[in-house]
């Protein structure tokens, strides 16, 4: 109570943020009941028919729903792992570049694809990756048979993950570079006096200092484990790769959005949120236990 009296100004400053949170995060949660209704907009939430868990049952009863959920998980998890690993290694390598101008230029260049829309990239990739496209021509000069990257079930996931990493790794690279810049230089000076070479410095100073940032980025990414990237898949997939490429979001788009089945769409949203929350809680506990790092 005494702290409240002393710090009341801070609490006042919190009010606008709380109002926004309540207005845009808590009140809309009331809409979750739509997940249990056969929602009809003109009947409103109060008048729509209750269908219990029917919307959820439909998600799991579809003949292909396990396939779709697996596709989502596999694509999302692989993307998550490589989107940590690649920027991690790349940031350390880039940090070793002595010329600051070169470092900055590379940093900007790898960040650029992040701003391109998948709608545009979809068209570009369709040409680049076609059987007589640029990529296959290069592979062909090494004697590789043309690969049908976007139309072959064995290659589709690989293509999706690789193109996603190419597009997005610059973002995390910048986050890691910022963390690298924050490492106390006296650590390196001390290590040098102790006779540590460059590799040893990287191994025992740089990498451990980056771990907390990796944990933060990784934990936050876990919340997206059921988002395999709608924009990307939607622009790249086709009936030939439904087997390996159809994910929850494309499936929701076709059923819930195109047909206006709001109840079903909400049910899937709720299902995804529940899974994500469990994963975030678990990873948070793990991070606290093993890395001794608390995010919140």
């Amino acid at each position: 109570m005494r702290t409240l009296r002393k710090n009341w100004q801070f609490h006042v400053m919190l009010i606008p943020a709380m109002i926004l949170l309540i207005l845009f995060s808590f009140i809309p949660m009331g809409g979750i009941v739509m997940a249990f209704q056969d929602y009809k907009p003109w009947l409103h939430i109060s008048g729509s028919e209750w269908v219990g868990l029917d919307n959820f049952r439909y998600l799991f009863e579809r003949e292909d729903s396990m396939q779709v959920i697996w596709n989502t998980l596999i694509i999302a998890v692989l993307k998550m792992i490589f989107n940590l690993l690649v920027p991690f290694i790349f940031a350390i390598m880039l940090n070793e570049v002595r010329k600051l101008a070169v470092q900055r230029t590379i940093q900007t260049l790898v960040y650029l694809p992040h701003f391109l829309s998948w709608v545009i990239l979809g068209g570009i990739l369709l040409d680049l990756l076609s059987t007589d496209g640029f990529v296959n021509q290069i592979l062909g000069s090494f004697g590789v048979q043309p690969i049908f990257f976007l139309g072959d079930n064995n290659w589709f996931r690989f293509t999706v993950i690789l193109t996603d990493i190419w597009k997005e790794f610059g973002y995390n690279t910048i986050v890691f570079l910022a963390a690298l810049a924050g490492i106390n230089p006296s650590l390196y000076e001390a290590a040098e006096i102790d006779g540590a070479n460059r590799w040893k410095q990287t191994r025992f100073i740089t990498m451990p200092s980056l771990i907390p940032m990796v944990v933060v980025v990784g934990t936050l990414a876990l919340g997206n484990v059921l988002n395999a990237g709608f924009d990307q898949i939607f622009n790249l997939y086709n009936p030939l790769v439904y087997q390996k490429g159809d994910i929850i979001d494309t499936f929701v788009y076709r059923t819930a959005i195109q047909n206006g089945e709001m109840g079903f769409g909400t049910a899937i949203g709720l299902f995804k949120s529940a899974i994500s929350m469990v994963l975030i809680l678990v990873s948070y506990q793990l991070a606290k236990k093993w890395a001794g790092y608390r995010i919140f």
Partner: protein, 564 residues
């Protein structure tokens, strides 16, 4: 200490929030009930209410989804412009906008849906395009919009009635239990019916004739590929540019006519021999069509990545001059094919008929004569006023004879202008610029008579000079090859088959249709690409029927019987 304090507060706010939400929901529902009660009570007989001009003024409320390309001049807006002034002066109709929104990414449909679900005042008259078909169906089911069939019979002018009668099926998708709940917005017929466009210069150099059967088509495609008249290497030529990423039944690069040669059109509902509706993709004729496509893919007659190609992609090789044939609408000689000569100067595209199958069968998928719906609110006090407005447009604007009031266009200085000697000036020379003021009207495109544009094109194709407004319009605004292509299109008029199911989504469709479509697309594509044997078509048909298809067919036929 702090958290203890915060928790109850948080709980309170959540409670408060949910109670507010609950209250507003109840209020809305109650409001809705009251309103419909009132409407029923006050619905007095309005005989002879129809007037050519209303005095005192009547008000029609509406809402607008504004095309982002639509321009305004003289500081006007969609709410207040030459068209609303015209309605006021000419008919004594005051058009009042409740709201308007720039219609990008389906914003109009979303706003309309939100307005409906949040209990806002709904417009008296609203026109909704087929792009927002689900919201139109929802509005009809909501009971906020009234039956219009009797209004139409009572008030519509002869011209409008004749136009509507050209295809009685236009009412089907807006009918409920035999009641007509929405006025279909008529569009020009055959806009999305297909012909084949072929490189006439290649045919001439090879000394070949345009193919009339599938067998002849194969010979032509083989010659295009292996003895290419432009000297292109066989693997650089795409004899027939088609794609099926989105659907086997589409517009540019459409493959459905290949199945049509074997007696079915995929992904639409056709009338079967027994008079019932049948889903085209499960007809036995599909198997032969799939076999052909598989063969053509192996021989390189169609794009190797056809499964990845959407409509626009199929036009790329056509424009680049490496494709020999592309299926598509009759207006393609304008966009995109006119650009071909930039890449290949002597390229000549000619329109030809759809080739026939082994037993002479030809089928192509047809175009609905409607592109949207106009709904009239149960609360509207003077529904006849809307007919005053629209009748005038049908009688004087849709296809006016020379000399009638709107013969030159709708609004002088907006969509047309006459110079001092009374001659029409070119659109780009209108002082202050051309604006498509036809789009300011309550019904999109004002008023269209389905067959009027085709008739105008045929007159031109037969060598007539443009005299009526429509003839002048198509002569100026469409590609030079369009009249001839329209003539080709109409030679196969009786081969055009529309999707016969236009009703609302059925119960089983909601639950099963996406999965059925998915296995259909997957099976067809994998058969064409040789990943599944041809016989898996038969197991697909079994799965389709067992997985809900049989039930859907039943529901579709129940609907069809109800509107027949």
């Amino acid at each position: 200490m702090k958290t203890k304090k915060m928790l109850p507060l948080l709980g309170m706010s959540v409670l408060l929030a949910s109670s507010i939400a609950g209250c507003s929901g109840n209020n809305n529902a109650a409001g809705g009930n009251n309103a419909s009660g009132n409407a029923a009570n006050t619905k007095a007989e309005t005989e002879n209410a129809y007037k050519d001009k209303y005095d005192p003024e009547v008000t029609i409320t509406t809402v607008w989804g504004v095309d982002p390309e639509l321009k305004f001049k003289n500081g006007e807006t969609i709410e207040n412009n030459v068209s609303t002034k015209w309605a006021k002066e000419k008919f004594g109709i005051n058009i009042k906008s409740l709201w308007s929104i720039t219609d990008t990414n389906g914003a109009f449909g979303t706003k309309l849906r939100l307005a409906m679900s949040s209990g806002q005042e709904m417009p008296d008259v609203v026109t909704i395009g087929t792009g927002d078909a689900t919201i139109a169906q929802d509005l009809i089911d909501s009971g906020m919009y009234r039956e219009v069939g009797t209004l139409f019979d009572q008030y519509a002018s002869a011209t409008w009635k004749e136009a509507m009668a050209q295809d009685p099926n236009v009412w089907n998708q807006y009918s409920r239990n035999g009641k007509k709940m929405g006025l279909p917005v008529l569009d020009y017929a055959y806009n999305h019916d297909y012909i084949l466009w072929i490189r006439q210069d290649w045919l001439d150099k090879l000394n070949m004739k345009a193919p009339t059967t599938i067998d002849e088509l194969e010979k032509v495609m083989d010659a295009f590929k292996n003895q290419n008249p432009d000297g292109l290497a066989p693997d650089k030529v795409i004899p027939l540019s088609i794609g099926f990423k989105t659907s086997m039944n589409t517009w540019m690069g459409d493959p459905s006519w290949i199945f049509g040669a074997y007696g079915t059109l995929p992904q639409q509902w056709n009338v079967a021999a027994d008079g019932k509706l049948e889903y085209g993709s499960v007809n036995a004729g599909m198997k032969q069509g799939l076999e052909k496509l598989k063969d053509w893919l192996a021989k390189g007659y169609i794009p190797q990545e056809a499964a990845l190609w959407d409509e626009n992609k199929t036009s790329e090789p056509a424009v680049a001059g490496t494709a020999g044939i592309i299926p598509g609408p009759y207006w393609m000689s304008g966009w995109p094919l006119q650009d071909t000569v930039k890449n290949v100067p002597d390229a000549v595209w000619a329109p030809i008929n759809i080739p026939a199958g082994p037993d002479g069968t030809v089928m192509r998928h047809g175009t609905q004569f409607t592109n949207g719906v106009t709904l009239i609110s149960t609360k509207m006090k003077n529904p006849e006023a809307f007919f005053t407005y629209e009748n005038y447009l049908y009688d004087n604007f849709a296809n006016p004879q020379p000399g009638s009031e709107l013969d030159n266009g709708l609004f002088a200085g907006y969509d047309y202008e006459l110079d001092a000697s009374g001659k029409m000036v070119a659109n780009d020379q209108i002082s202050g610029g051309y604006v498509n003021s036809v789009r300011y009207l309550l019904v999109r495109d004002g008023a269209r008579i389905p067959d009027a544009q085709m008739k105008a094109l045929l007159n031109l194709a037969n060598g007539a000079q443009p005299t009526t407004r429509l003839e002048k319009d198509v002569a100026v605004n469409y590609g030079k090859g369009t009249p001839a292509a329209a003539k080709v299109l109409l030679q196969q008029e009786d081969k055009s088959f529309k999707n016969m199911f236009t009703g609302p989504t059925t119960e089983t469709m909601k639950a099963k249709l996406d999965y059925l479509n998915k296995i259909e697309n997957q099976t067809f594509n994998e058969i064409i690409y040789g990943k599944q044997p041809l016989d898996s078509f038969d197991s697909f048909v079994t799965t389709w029927n067992a997985g809900g298809g049989e039930q859907i067919t039943k529901e579709v036929n129940e609907w069809y019987d109800s509107v027949k």
